[in-house]
């Protein structure tokens, strides 16, 4: 890897063979990308936690229905 990250820019308005440029990212671009990635990671963790909580709540409900005497198939049918 090079010291400074680079981006590949392909200018399609130019003739073939002259289109590709390899350009170093500016400090502002690096900062923006890093901030966006951190934000996305925070969101991903929150989404996964919310999905896990929803799955746990659903399972707890199923368990209670089964404890009341329903079969698993009957309990699942009620939740669909």
């Amino acid at each position: 890897m090079s010291e400074t990250p680079v981006k590949v820019v392909v200018d399609l308005s130019k003739p073939k063979g002259q289109r590709e440029s390899i350009i170093e990212l500016t400090k502002a671009e690096i900062k923006e990308q890093t901030a966006m990635a951190a934000e996305a990671e925070t969101q991903r963790i929150a989404d996964e936690a919310a999905q896990a909580e929803a799955a746990a709540t659903r399972q707890a409900g199923l368990d209670k229905l089964i404890a009341l005497g329903l079969t698993e198939a009957e309990a699942l049918a009620l939740t669909r």
Partner: protein, 163 residues
């Protein structure tokens, strides 16, 4: 229908934080990007249109190999391979953008996989809208944190117009 290859780019030995097509010709109806990619550490694939990461909203459905995830997304349009994936393999993504030169919101559909010889291998579909009326003149794809975790060498991106 005519599918025209506009350009194919292969990332060189230094890697690349992103691949951007600019000056996209406006004579097509739809755009298709085919990506064969591997990134360092991260596997989420992001997109920008006309230099913007705003106005995106979408839905994602992912099979992980052991579970299913359905969630909302913005700029994330798929998954690619990362450095922990099976050696020398690359993920694939196809990004289809309808009516890219129009003055209406753009609909984007993506399917992607990350190839991995393990239980955990993602299969993914995204439905995204770019709620912007500007004609698309540039398109950028990047790993989630390309500045830190760039596309690796041999990653390729091809841009097609469909007319």
């Amino acid at each position: 229908m005519t599918m025209t290859l506009i350009e194919t780019i292969t990332v060189g030995s230094g890697g690349a934080a992103s691949i951007e097509f600019t000056g996209i010709p406006q004579d097509g109806k739809d755009l298709l990007v085919l990506l064969s990619a591997r990134a360092n550490t991260v596997q989420a694939l992001w997109m920008q249109l006309n230099g913007s990461n705003s106005d995106f909203s979408g839905l994602r459905l992912t099979g992980t190999g052991s579970s299913v995830i359905a969630t909302t997304e913005t700029v994330q349009v798929g998954f690619i391979n990362r450095s922990s994936s099976t050696a020398n393999t690359f993920g694939n993504a196809a990004i289809y953008i309808s009516n890219y030169a129009s003055s209406t919101a753009k609909s984007i559909s993506t399917d992607s996989v990350n190839e991995n010889n393990d239980t955990s291998a993602l299969q993914n579909i995204n439905a995204t809208i770019w709620d912007n009326t500007a004609a698309i003149t540039s398109l950028l794809v990047e790993p989630q944190s390309g500045a830190s975790y760039p596309f690796l060498e041999h990653t390729t991106a091809s841009l097609y117009t469909i007319s």
